[in-house]
Amino acid sequence: MKRIVILGGGTGGTIAANRLRRGYGAEDAEIIVVDRDDDHVYQPGLLFVPFGLADPARLVRPRHRQLHPGVTFRQAGVDRVDLAGDQVFLDDGPALGYDALVIATGARLLPEQTEGLTGPGWMEQVFTFYTPAGAAALRGALDRFDGGRLAVNVVDMPVKCPVAPLEFCFLADHYFRRRGIRARVQLSYVTPLDGAFTKPVCNRELSGLLRRKDIDLVTEFNTGEVRGCRGGAGEGRLVSYDDREVRFDLAVVVPLHGGAAFVDRSPGLGDELGFIPVDPGTLQATAKPNVFAIGDATDVPTSKAGSVAHFEGAVVTDGVRAYLDGRPLTGCFDGHTNCFIETGGGKALLVDFNYDTEPLTGHYPARAGLPLLKESRLNHLGKRAFESLYWHALLPGRDLPGIGSDMPRRGKAGLPG
């Protein structure tokens, strides 16, 4: 009997566990998922909480309930991985040995690594919507906000769902219009990138949307310090490393991200930021062949997003099985990423891309599908309907009809089908 240990019971870990369970007989493999808590958060829903469009309590379900009954859920923190000994040290109990290890512990927010961010004004005048508590607190602050400067700032890449801060701007624009106070609000999007987004076609579309919605774009701003005011009494400032300043009455900051803390405590496992270096095609860790990683925990050059973890699921499970059978790894993840971008007023854009193909216009998954890089009501409905699909089809590790792991080429403008 082989033992497969999966660290992390979020999107990637749950999909990997359920797919592996279906692939092995009960006598052939023991599958253990380790997580420090039993709260599985539907993270895409957090964006809607500040605008009263989602209830934070309803975004959370028990992790163990999303796992196949044949998967063991072990609630414990991870102290470190002992690569040489093929074992994981947990916060409690004896070490857990493994034949194969899957690291699915995602990305961790590091607000304390930016000077002043968690200082005066934190959770009073300076918020993040990347946590359930932060998103809920921001809802109250937005309700009380009746005019002034609202700055939305990404401190540095990489961040989870890099389009979410832009979506926040679009939704905020719509929210203030609905309240009839848009003219009294100065909205700005402050980014370390040299444009609204990195890829040219997508950048052009999103920059155009920002302009049309009268949202200022401040680029190449590397936030060195956040100066908030206690109790929100006064004007705050974002200060860049090259001494530029953006003033705010309310700031929404996406903090620095890093990998899970145990990665830093496990020699040889992670990179400088705590992400797991893997082969971008097979997702096998460069550290050791019996270690794989999935989702936000990896260092692959694509977005940190649930869709990526989903598309990686088949490759990781095939890889683990091939490794344990002593066969060569044949999987090849193409970097496929797919994101709905909420643009406010009940509309959304859809982007679909991979390692080699930037987001393009056209339709997904084929010519008769959802419009790509174009605002539509259909995309908004798709985004909202996705929540149910997430719990009932994606996490169980089912293949979605018509939605393959590889990026579809047909339907994309300028690509031979």
């Binding site: 890449m157 190449e220 060195g224 050059p301």
Partner: protein
């Protein structure tokens, strides 16, 4: 693809002036590239970063981000901005003759 001339030699660069073949770069070219970018004198601290960029590129195939530079080069992010104003990761990559660092998406 464009070309530029440093230290009497013609090199291939992209449309933003980043080297496309780091093998064409020599240390003698660095002060000239720096001057064109508004840095008149390269100090020992500049050189520490430039050499680090070359090593990282050779090891990993891409230049580090400013955050990783701040953690690993021995020069803090604050000082990196003093040495290479505006965008240290990009500017140091250009002077070190390596391609533009891959952005994250």
């Amino acid at each position: 693809m464009a070309e530029a001339s440093y230290d009497g030699q013609v090199v291939s660069v992209n449309d933003e002036g980043f080297f496309t073949d780091p093998g064409q770069w020599t240390e003698a070219m660095a002060p000239q590239i720096a001057k064109a970018e508004g840095i008149d004198h390269l100090t020992d601290r500049h050189w520490q970063v430039i050499r680090f960029m070359r090593q990282e590129y050779q090891a990993k195939g891409t230049g580090p981000t400013v955050r990783v530079l701040g953690k690993t080069s021995g020069v803090s992010v604050k000082e990196l901005y003093q040495l290479f104003p505006k965008g240290p990761a990009k500017l140091a990559a250009k002077i070190a003759g390596i391609p533009k660092p891959r952005g994250c998406i």
